[in-house]
Symmetry: C2
Subunit: 266 residues, 2 copies
């Protein structure tokens, strides 16, 4: 398809430019955008101009492109994450008040944990997770909780893929990960110790749907020097149960295709 | 321009379909989308199909279109609201802990207050504001704080426009609004009493930039039956000053064109 393709290719290529940004690449130059989309620079230039005119892209002080705040506004209208956040947030707030640590609520999207909501304060350890961030399942607390309670087929598929090493403590051996996940299932909560980020530890529990499937995970992240990680478990389990109940109360219509495997995740 | 326009029109029309959604219209049928964009239904159908294939749009159980969670993820990469949230959130959290009420952080976008961050809990009064919501300036606490400390030219322009009546308590008389704004400036905080929503009251303070211009507003919303709204003022002012300091510390690059008037606001 040429430089001036038909409508389909133009729209999807314009969207691909937006999709080229991620947590590790929040700003990109025109050349980087073109390269990441496998697009001639001239095409990228034209489409970027249109995205900028619509304020889907902005340029920062260094003349690098970034996602425009208009996309932020429109994205917040997406009903599924909005509803999940609205349901989980008050329970997360209660957990935050008692722990003063980072509180996470995440769902599984493909092979990642997608962070739907996060609460933090001045006393919490600084960590890389943000709302909208995706992190791998095996080195994160919420990810291990999501993975451990997934189907055995999914667990096998996950363990058969290369397991990224995030720190020297990340579990990258499939056999060890399988044993760890069995332990998570047996005790009902997941622990990490500097497996995602040096200096932080986490504890997380699954949030089940009323059909018994894991829908989300709720976790606490704290400084690795702090003891007493498991003291948060009863509180996490209690709030997770309340979220299950609240999700059931709100489930007037299902969340089609949001949680679990999604077509575009490949 | 025909049904199959050139790249520019195709991209901008596809984006217009995304921009057709707002807080009052989080889901739309194909006909509604076409009508809101002034587009032939056949064109809308083709472009909607492309947006859906890319997961920028999703269909819900009622076969209505809604913004896809993929746009939510990408939107959260937008650096300006992300940074403002990261700066304000810990201070908002402290305010929440002491008040247990809804806490808002908003900036002015054109003639609206744009809600950048919100904290809430079980005990807070249910209100319509959400992150990403725009509400008019004159009936909201954060809006009045933003408006009162804007330039006198902007205030005059705002007061010369029709003032929407949200409840029977909304101030819709320009003269009365001007006097109210003078009072806000004199005492350093804004109050509302059921002016946006029956049953809720609010108090808000401006958050100044280091150049003395108002950059944002910080507010508390509570049940209208609760007394003691002004007891939150010292705490709000103190946290607002800390946010000013934190914004200054973080301001390695400016927020070009985000706060205040924006080209597309018209």
């Amino acid at each position: 398809m040429g430089n001036r393709g038909n409508g389909r290719s133009v729209t999807s290529r314009a969207l691909d430019l937006l999709g080229a940004f991620d947590v590790e690449h929040p700003t990109l130059t025109l050349s980087e955008l073109a390269a990441r989309c496998g697009m001639p620079k001239a095409t990228a230039h034209r489409l970027v101009g249109e995205l900028e005119a619509w304020r889907a892209l902005e340029r920062n002080a260094d003349n690098r492109y970034q996602v425009g705040s208009r996309v932020w506004e429109i994205g917040l209208l997406s009903p599924v994450p909005r509803r999940l956040r609205e349901i989980a947030m008050p329970f997360m707030q209660d957990l935050y008040e008692r722990s003063k640590e980072n509180i996470h609520f995440a769902v599984r999207k493909g092979h990642d944990a997608l962070y739907i909501a996060k609460l933090t304060g001045h006393r919490a350890v600084p960590i890389i997770s943000r709302e909208g961030t995706r992190l791998p399942l095996h080195p994160t607390g919420v990810g291990k909780a999501l993975l451990a309670f997934s189907s055995s087929e999914f667990i096998e598929t996950y363990c058969a893929r290369p397991l990224a090493r995030c720190t020297r403590h990340t579990i990258v051996e499939p056999g060890r990960l399988r044993r760890e996940l069995a332990l998570v299932r047996a005790r009902g909560y997941a622990l990490t110790n500097e497996e995602m980020t040096l200096g932080s530890r986490s504890v997380a529990v699954p949030v089940f749907g009323t059909d018994g499937r894991v829908e989300a995970a709720l976790g606490v992240v704290m400084h690795s020097v702090c003891g007493g990680l498991t003291r948060h478990v009863p509180d996490l389990k209690s709030e997770a149960a309340k979220i299950t109940q609240a999700m059931n109360d709100h489930r007037t219509d299902p969340y089609p295709g949001f949680v679990h495997d999604l077509p575009h995740e490949g």
